[in-house]
């Protein structure tokens, strides 16, 4: 009886894993296959014949390409700004202890707690109040504030692991504080900083909720372009766009794995809100 119950438990566990794998992977396989559909309309799955027509359509459509360009430029600038600000904030946080550190840290991480829609809406009102109507400036503001906490958090996680005695040793040997930082601390913290930058880039590329509020008719990101096409249009160029975005995701994960190794990511608790 005991054996029987245990066996049932084991089989249920295996069935659970298989079902979840299918649930997570199958829709993506559907999207990838549909993006190669040869039919010229959105037909039933599975496609009868395959072609690259939707990719040709994506890469020759000025509307999508402009979205992709804006997304990439935006992600690069937002990543640069929030990583710079995040790293310098994390350095200060790492040096301090006690109440003031706790308060500052939760302040810097608080954009994670505020729902993205609220951030987008608040920035929209605020930019209108200030008279900022340039789409790119508004988007950049939104993307910086949603990526900033990730850079603080990963850099801090990277800095905490570095023993203070190393810096002290460098200073005892005659280096000043600045020299000790650039020669000892910074190289050791580099992985945390890179991870933060990769996260920032990924979240900037992915954002919809904030961007929808801040776009202007001529400045929009790729996800925003895809959302508006999804509402009005029923062709499979969106599927091709989705696969292009997936390729970016895949490259980012490779970068992350190269920079710190994926297993370490979990130990750092990066995904905890």
């Amino acid at each position: 009886m005991r054996r029987l119950i245990d066996n049932i438990g084991t089989w249920l566990g295996i069935a659970n894993i298989l079902i979840v794998l299918v649930f997570l992977i199958f829709p993506i396989a559907v999207a990838v296959m549909m993006s190669f559909d040869a039919r010229d309309y959105l037909g039933r799955f599975p496609p009868q014949a395959y072609s690259i027509r939707w990719y040709e359509s994506f890469f020759s459509d000025a509307y999508y390409l402009q979205g992709l360009t804006t997304s990439l430029i935006l992600a690069v600038i937002a990543t640069f700004v929030s990583t710079t600000a995040g790293v310098s904030a994390a350095i200060v946080l790492d040096r301090h202890t006690g109440r003031s550190k706790e308060v500052l840290e939760s302040l810097f991480l608080s954009p994670l707690v505020v729902p993205a829609v609220v951030i987008g809406f608040a920035l929209l009102l605020f930019f209108s109040l200030l008279g900022v109507f340039d789409g790119f400036t508004r988007l950049l503001g939104g993307h910086i504030i949603i990526t900033f906490p990730y850079t603080v958090r990963t850099t801090l996680a990277g800095l905490v692991g570095i023993r203070k005695t190393l810096t002290e040793a460098a200073m005892a040997l005659g280096a000043n504080e600045r020299r000790a930082f650039w020669d000892v601390t910074f190289p050791l913290a580099r992985t945390g900083i890179v991870a933060g930058a990769v996260f920032a880039f990924a979240f900037s590329m992915d954002d919809i909720a904030v961007s929808l509020f801040l776009t202007s008719p001529d400045t929009y990101t790729l996800p925003v372009a895809m959302v508006s096409m999804m509402r009005t249009n029923f062709d499979l160029t969106i599927a091709a766009a989705a696969v292009v975005l997936m390729v970016f995701t895949f490259l980012l994960i490779l970068a992350l794995n190269w920079a710190i190794g994926l297993e370490k990511l979990i130990g750092q608790g990066v995904f905890r809100s």
Partner: protein, 283 residues
């Protein structure tokens, strides 16, 4: 003196961004939420009188419904995600092969990084009319255009993100539970299942709570999933804010909803962190 000036300089960019892009905009939302809105305008007039109307309006059943709807989906999806993810995290934590472990962690992280829009579009193709909508709704004996099926697809949309994130969160927790404890119970005559429910599971409660918190807050702020997969039938609070902005430009009302949403999100997080931290101290 020198040192504190350096500290201030380093903090300045972060504090500046934080103030300009979060604190001041939110303060402005609070102010706007008490302004009177005259239909037909975009936003409130500069000298609009103050009023509580934007908040009292939300008590009406029509609006409270959005909130209940968000909570209902949040609860159901988060609990389902935990029940499904726990055995997966357990299997990952307890199996020996380093390769399998690396692969499964890589897979889960890949699933988290997947763009929300790609996820939603893939689910729409799969469970929509060109996919398996007719087959699945036929099996469940419901209409593919009905409320139940739409609810189901929205829940799928939430679960597609919640399952990987809870599995990863729980993996950390289970790794910290000593497997010898469960083995001891089994040596003393408990079945594997019983030792699991009486020893391992109770030790994971703080981790389960924090995973629930993460899932629930993610559901509360979900926006794209209900917008695309809900086909206008399922609307969360975030969609209400967006509608206030895009459809009728009633910024004061949108602000009031935003403030309520923010307060609920903060309270949930505060509440559950309290529960988690007292549990840890007791243990």
């Amino acid at each position: 003196m020198q040192k504190s000036r350096g500290t201030l300089l380093l903090l300045l960019p972060g504090l500046g961004l934080f103030l300009a892009l979060l604190v001041l905009p939110l303060a402005n939302v609070v102010e706007e939420s008490f302004r009177l809105f005259v239909p037909g305008r975009i936003g409130s007039a500069k000298d609009a009188p103050y009023t509580l109307f934007n908040y009292t309006e939300l008590i009406e059943p029509a609006y409270a419904f959005y909130l209940l709807e968000t909570f209902r989906f949040g609860l159901v999806s988060s609990l389902t995600a935990l029940v499904i993810a726990f055995p997966i995290a357990y299997a990952m934590a307890r199996q020996g092969s380093p390769l399998l472990r690396k692969l499964s962690i890589g897979f889960l992280i890949g699933m988290l990084f997947l763009s929300t829009l790609v996820r939603v579009y893939a689910l729409q193709l799969t469970f929509g009319p060109t996919g398996y909508a007719r087959l699945i709704s036929g099996l469940l004996n419901v209409s593919p255009n009905g409320r139940f099926y739409t609810d189901l697809v929205v829940t799928f949309g939430l679960l597609h993100y919640l399952i990987p994130i809870s599995a990863i969160t729980l993996l950390g927790t289970i790794q910290n539970v000593n497997p010898k404890l469960a083995e001891a119970a089994q040596v003393l005559g408990a079945s594997r299942l019983k030792s699991h429910f009486t020893i391992t599971l109770p030790l994971c409660i703080p981790g389960l709570l924090s995973a629930f918190l993460i899932c629930f807050t993610l559901c509360l702020s979900a926006f794209v999933v209900p917008m695309i997969l809900g086909k206008g039938k399922v609307l969360f609070v975030s969609n209400l804010i967006y509608a206030r902005f895009s459809e009728i430009a009633n910024y004061p009302s949108g602000s009031a909803v935003a403030i309520i949403m923010l307060v609920i999100a903060l309270m949930t997080i505060y509440g559950v962190t309290r529960v988690v931290s007292t549990r840890v101290i007791q243990d």
